[in-house]
Structure formats: C-alpha cells, structure tokens
Symmetry: C2
Subunit: 516 residues, 2 copies
C-alpha cells in the first residue's frame, strides 16, 4: 500500500507480501534463523531503519478498532491532513485513524507497536515547524474525535477535557464562569489542547501567566512502552507532592514520548479591563530599564510588553499603510498592555506608572489609548509586522529567545553580516519573555544565503545561551540544529527518555530529536 | 566504621576488613568466583540489599575531594545533622561531606557510585516527613557550602544561584530590585533553594503564583547515572521549546533522581500593599461560592483564601487566648488576603468585592483589617491553629489535598469514625489550593488509634482522587502509603526513572518510593 521507503524496508515487506510459494517455508530452520536475525536487527538498528509498510490486513485491524467512521482513506480528506499550512511540508500518509476514546487510542498504539507501524500524531494541524504532518508516509493518528469537555469546577477553576478540544471552545466554556484559559494563540480557533500541551504552547499571555507547566495539573497519555500502555496521571489538585510529577515530562515533548489523550488544567480569572500604551525609546538600555520599572510598579496588572524596532515599524508604515502614533522618531518602540479587574482604577493606574517612566526619561515619547478601538489600532502596529515583511521581499523568519541583555544584539549582528545582501533586517517580539522574531528580507530567494543565515543565527543564539526555538518547537524545520540546543549529556538523556517510552521509535519519527 | 547493617552487608564487610590472613587469598579461583557471585548479587538484589559499609579508605578518598574543612566527623556536629527537627526521626550517619562546588559534588557521587555507598542529601534540614536525615547510617551530603548567588537580572527577574542558598537570603537579594521569590514558607530562614526545588515547596503564595514548575527555568543536577554525571540544564529563558524540559522531572523528586546543585528561577514583582478580611460562612457550599466569586472579581490581587472550621477556631480561642472577631458564630471561617501594587485603590477594591459577597449572602458576617497590626491579628487566628492543637491533647496531623467539593468531607468522616475516641477533630488550610490540614487530638497517645486513622485518612483520600501528601512530600513518614498515590502503571514508571538516573539506588534510600 505504501511505497517509497528504504531498501531494507522493502526487503522486509516482500517477505510478508510474498504470494504463492513463500520465499522460505514457515517453520524451516532457515526461516527461524532469518526471524532471529530480523529480531536482532530491529533491536539494534538506528531508529528509522526498520518500520513495516502498511498492509491491507493492518488497515482492517485498525478499522476494527476505530470503526469505519474513524478510518479515512478518501484522497481529498487525506490531502487536507497531509497539507502543512505553512506550505513548507507535505506528508504522504495513505491512512488516517481518528479514535474516539483513549481506549481506542491504546488499541491503535498496541496494533502499531506489534506491527511496527510509524505514526504522525495530529491535533489541529497548526504547527509552524512541520510537526503535525507526516514527514514521509506515516499513518496519521488524529485526536479530533477526542473532543469532550468532561468537567469544569468553578470554585477551583480546574478543567478536565479530552485532547481534541479546540482552545477557543474551552475558552468560551470556562468564560461562562468568569475564567479564561491561561494561554492564548493566534491559532485559537483550530489548535487543540492536546497539541498545545504536547508543544508547550507559549503565546500572548506568558509574561502574565507563565508557562503551561505551571497550569497543567495532570495528563492521561498512551505510550508505546511494553506493547502499549495507558498512563493515568490526571489530577484536579493544585498541590500534590505524593510522587514525581511524571506528566511534566510529556509537556513540550512534541508527541515523542506518548499521545496526550486527556488534560487537567487550571483556568485563570478572566480580566475585565484592558489598557494599551505605545512608547518610543532612544536606546535599548532604556527599553530594559522601562521593562524592569513597569513590572515592579504594575505587578500582575501587566499582561504584555511587546517590542518593535524602527526597521519593523518602517516596514509596517510602508506596506500596511499605518502611521507611527509617536511624534518623536525613535530606534525602539514598546507596546505596553495591562489587563485588570477594576473598571474604575486600572486605566488611571497604568497611565500613572507609564507617565512616571516618561518623566524619569526612560521613554522619549508615547501615546495612551483612550478607547478599545485605539487600543486595537496600537496593537496592529505590532501584529502586522510579520505580514508587512512578507510584502517586503523574500522573507526569512527566525523564532529564538535570548537572555534579555542579548535580546537585540542578534539583530545588529545580522545587519553587520547580511545587511549588504538584504533589503531589510528587523526584530520584534515579546520583550517580556526574551522571545525575538528576527525577520530578514532579500530581493529574491537564495538557498545559499538562507543556509548561511540559518547557521549564523542558530550558532550565535546557542553560543549566547539562547534557545533556537522559543515557542514554535523543533518539528522538521529545526531538526538539524537540534543538537545545538543543549549539552550532549542532556540530549543523550532526552533520547534515553524517548527510548524508554517509545522503544520502537514509532511516534512522530523524522522529527524533533535525533540519535546522539 | 559503620555497623548495624543487615546480615548480608556485614558478611561483605568482613571480607574487606579482614586483617592478617585473608579469608580467601587474593586472586584464588574461589575468591574470583565469590567476587562474580557478589557482582551478580549486587546486580539483581532489591534496591536496599547490597550497600557497602564506609571504610577508612573511602573516608580518605572523600576527604581528598572536599578537603578537611568539608568533611565532618565531629560527634556534636553530626548529632545536629542527624537530628530531624520534628523529633520523629534520627539518623546514624558517621560522616558528613559538604562539597563547595558542583564539581566536588560530582567527585563525591563518582566515589559513592564506585564504592556503592548510600547517601542522604541534606539542605536546610527542615523536612516535615523525615526526608532530610539519614534513615540508617547513610553518608550525609550537605549542600550548605554551595551558597553563592551567581547572577540576578533585574529586567527579566531571572536569578541564578547555587543550591545551598537560603530562601530568605535570596528573597532579600531580589527584594533590592523590587522582586520577591515566587513562594514563601515558614522555614524561610533555614530552608535552601535546592531543597525547595527538590521537594517542590508549595507554601503560602501558591494560589497567587502557582507551583514551582512554572517558575524554575533550569537546573544543574548531578546524577549517579553511568558512574556519575553532571547535567547542565540551566537557562535564563522564559520561553524555550528546543527540547524536552528534563529539569522538570527533578522538581519534587525528593532527591531520588539526582542532586540539585544550581537553580535558575524567575522572581516575581514584590507587592506593595496588603489587605486582610475574616469572614464567617454558614455552609461549606457558601465557602466554595465565595471562593469562586472572590477569585473572578479580584483576579491576581487575591493572594490567599485560608479556611478554618469552628472546632479549629474554638481550639485557638481556648489555648491561645484569642477571641473570634466575627460577631456571628459560624461553622466555617475564611481569611481572605489581597496583595497589590496600588496604595490608593487596593484596600477599597478588596473591601468592595467582599462587601458585595456579604450583601449577596454568601458570607454571614465578617471583619476587615484597617491596619497592618489588625491584619496580623487576623492572620494569628489561622497561623496559631497548629500550635493550639498541640496544647489540646495528643495530636495527629494530616497534610492532604482533595478535589475542592470533597475538601471538608474528610473532616466529617473522621468525626463520624473517630469522634467518640477523640477530644477534637478539626480542619483548616489553604482552601484556594485544595490543601487541608486535618488535626485530631486524643487524651493520650494510642498506636492502634493512629494506625486506624492513618489507614482511613489515606485510603479515603486516594479513593476520592486526593493526594496523601499535598506539600510536605513522602520522605520516611508516608513511605508505606506511597503505593496508594498513583495507579501502579504510573508508579512503575516513577521507579523506572529512579532506576535510570540512579541505577545503584544510592540516593536517599529507604525514602520516598519503593520497588513496585
């Protein structure tokens, strides 16, 4: 059924597929020996060398587990599931299974382990790094039918739901009791909570609410260990020191260790007010000073400190027809947002804190939104930067994070190294989280320039204790730079965890991590 | 040097200690065979069966690593290190080593792995479950000399320090820049950050700031794996999705997987205002409704919602000579605290939100502190409950957490089951976190009553999806109930992690987890 695999794979298949007289008689000593050699080979080969090809018998086996409605082989529907929405990757899966309970997921995994079938786990398929489509012809396991909200307790704010629930749906559900999900993404209408957890989604509110580790209380996961197992680590408890919090290992593992099937997560009270200011700073040091002062003066009222440099703002002005609201032209701009619960005072408190910073000279100039419409206008200056760059030429994008005092240096280094060959080099992002989106445009695409830039950016980032992937993950896009992400001793332990939970390396192969 | 071990151990020692003619000549075939048998035995025995006894040669080896100042064999100083401050446990260590760098820790671990010497890791020795003193005669490894604050960045609030730094010292250090540590404990003057991380300290601010998982950015740990390794997982980045966050596995592992030697942690802005109210509720359902409303109305201003039942308040009134500030006598009381950044408005905001709840009838009566002195007086009603119970008779204490709707049921069940045999049964604790401290007093100590209560409380808690240890951990105290804490499949994976990182099971034996 599936072709295009390695030489070794096809040889293994031929044995299975042989019709008429078998190559070797069943039970013959030679066959026994061959079976032993195959077994040893499977045990010792590198992870990607020895998967089985999908055969009719296996498809029927899967259909018995998920039912005919849970099995998709229709070309049009598969084309959608194989398509990566960034357009960079395309999978070749010929079958998609959509189990409708965690028991069905377990049965699918048991079949895949027994048959040594590789899997691509797909939630909302919104990965930006090619993580959610098959790299080759892996079977797609979709979590879309695991979409039940199981329980929400409004006193504690604890939500228990299945992995395929869409973030926006959950947000509306908890919103009825005055809560919101503790993170938010642009993909909120499509992305699913299981994928959010598996990729440790960051997003727009991380400065205020912190990472998912602090909010996920427990998980149910299905792991390929020992032929397939379900680990129930669900909990509705905020305090539980009765054993290691094993569930944390699965957060951000990009589906390499197991399939998240259920999530317990703590929602946060939903803010009632929003205030936004846009400030210009003369030096990057001023931006850092302002970040510090605004944090300790506004505390948890502060929800975002976003950074835009002059090149990015110029790009937005040129291509998106927006104007700079700050009268004084500055090399750096900060968008400051607060979200609170006090309709009467929050605006005044925010205004006073920012005014004080201006008076102290940490910002050169600025504007304060008087209405929600004005607030949205100011946000556009930051949100449209990415789109503006796509109109500026051929666009190279990097999502990295850096220690705060090194945050802007990477933009300057890129200007020095590639400025002559490029149209524009600019940096914007979540200053409060140390996450910078470096954008570079050239007149026409150049693979050699891209390769040189990739090498430079990721090398410089790791040398300066940054992360080559701030929030988007590794997936297929950054796989070949993964070895730079941690010291080898640590990476070896990540691989050891992979080998422990997924000894036959069937989950999401060709992605996220490599043998070290 | 050390005695009192098992029969098998002593036989092994005799071989080593034999003076004059050895029992078996070195190199003789019989000796070789015995060595092979020993090796196989060590490989297959249960974790606690085959440690070596500490000999002079090993002590000299350790002294070469840590220097004479880092090696303690003085009886008085050892008596302090062996003493558990709850008075329930006493260790018999004859040697304490205090390395002064993570490289020295690594050398100590290498020696201990090679010699198969068990270790007890000790930070500030403030464990409430016998976790920080040797269970038998393990060597004590103290982190007290790893006490350097390495770096603090005031823009990002990221602190990097060694494991032996005292929490209060760190709090003062970050306080100079307007920050505070994201958790607080009564033991703040003695407990060390390495121990806080290793036990996932909860404490007084968890409702507001969430668990340590959300704040710890990275760790350096020394693990006994492959003869001893240092894993550098330090980071100053709030967003880093470049590989699994392996460091999270060590948070709350009670030193079973490795020794935390350095910590990167994110401090939080230090609040400037505090407001406290004390309310009486007529039903537990009112308490839950009030918790919900106060959370969604006050948002992150809310820092504590503490619960005290009538029995606890009566106990405080009787033994601590305090009076109930609420005029109406109620079965349940809540202490509500807010901490904010706005001197002008926070008091008024808190007052208005609480007044609204009173008007809506969710609380029967209440008082609002007008000054810091009054706030401290109200806090005493909650903080002195534990001490009051110790004056009330022989005191049995339980630290458990429960799903919020089951929070108070355990107190009622205990009243039903043990009320006749006891002086008083009361519950108080952190309602916002689902953490209840169940306190029971009897006229005189009774081992059989204690055993029946232990069995009942832990069984009922696990049957109702609670945790047998909310924040204090397992240590020695709850070791025999550990098997109830998670489904067996999950516990087996915890043991698998232990076996992976500490294959010779030398770290903190006889504690925290058992073979399953």
């Amino acid at each position: 059924m599936m072709g295009g695999r390695s030489h070794i794979r096809r040889r293994f298949c031929r044995l299975d597929k042989a019709k008429g007289a078998p190559l070797l008689r069943w039970g013959s000593p030679k066959r026994q020996m061959l079976k032993t050699v195959c077994k040893l080979w499977r045990h010792f080969v590198t992870p990607f060398g020895s998967y089985a090809a999908l055969r009719d018998g296996q498809v029927q086996l899967l259909e018995r587990v998920v039912g005919s409605k849970g099995l998709v082989m229709d070309a049009d529907r598969l084309a959608v599931a194989n398509a990566d929405w960034t357009g960079q990757y395309r999978g070749n899966a010929e079958v998609l299974v959509a189990p409708s309970s965690s028991d069905e997921v377990l049965q699918v995994i048991k079949a895949c382990v027994a048959e040594r079938l590789p899997l691509c786990i797909q939630g909302g398929n919104t990965s930006l790094v090619g993580g959610s489509v098959p790299a080759r012809d892996e079977l797609i396991l979709s979590t879309s039918k695991l979409n039940r909200i199981l329980h929400f307790d409004e006193s504690s704010g604890v939500l228990n739901c299945e992995a395929g629930c869409i973030l926006e749906t959950l947000n509306s559900h908890v919103g009825q009791s005055g809560y919101m999900m503790p993170f938010d993404l642009a993909a909120r209408g499509s992305c699913m909570i299981g994928g959010n957890v598996a990729t440790c989604a960051g997003g727009l509110h991380l400065l205020r609410f912190g990472p998912l580790y602090g909010h996920v209380l427990g998980l149910e996961v299905v792991v390929p260990l020992e032929g397939g197992q379900k680990l129930n680590m669900l909990s509705s408890l905020r305090k539980d020191n009765s054993t290691f919090r094993l569930a944390n290992l699965f957060i951000g593992s990009e589906g390499q260790l197991g399939i998240v099937t259920q999530v317990s997560i703590c929602a946060v009270p939903r803010p009632l007010t929003r205030n936004v200011a846009f400030l210009g700073c003369l030096t990057f040091q001023d931006c850092l000073r302002l970040l510090h002062l605004i944090r300790v003066r506004l505390g948890p009222l502060l929800s975002s400190v976003e950074f835009v440099d002059q090149d990015c703002l110029n790009c937005v002005k040129e291509h998106m027809k927006l104007s700079n609201p700050v009268a004084t032209s500055c090399p750096f701009y900060l968008l400051i947002e607060t979200m609170g619960f006090n309709q009467d005072n929050d605006g005044q408190t925010t205004y006073a804190a920012i005014e004080q910073c201006l008076e102290e000279g940490h910002a050169a100039d600025g504007v304060f939104a008087e209405s929600e419409t004005q607030a949205r206008e100011l946000w556009k200056l930051r949100e449209l930067v990415s789109e503006a760059f796509s109109h500026d030429g051929y666009n190279y994008k990097y999502d990295v994070s850096l220690p705060i005092h090194k945050y802007y240096e990477i933009v300057e280094k890129c200007k020095d190294n590639f400025g002559v060959e490029c149209v524009r080099v600019g940096g914007f992002g979540h200053l409060g989280d140390g996450n910078i989106h470096l954008n570079i445009t050239s007149k026409c695409p150049s693979d050699s320039l891209k390769k040189r830039m990739d090498d430079f950016v990721y090398k410089w980032t790791t040398e300066n204790n940054g992360s080559i992937s701030a929030e988007h993950g590794i997936g297929q896009l950054k796989l070949h730079y993964w070895h730079m992400s941690r010291p080898t001793a640590v990476l070896r332990q990540c691989v050891a965890m992979k080998r422990h939970f997924d000894p036959s390396w069937i989950l999401n192969p060709y992605k996220t991590l490599q043998n070290v």
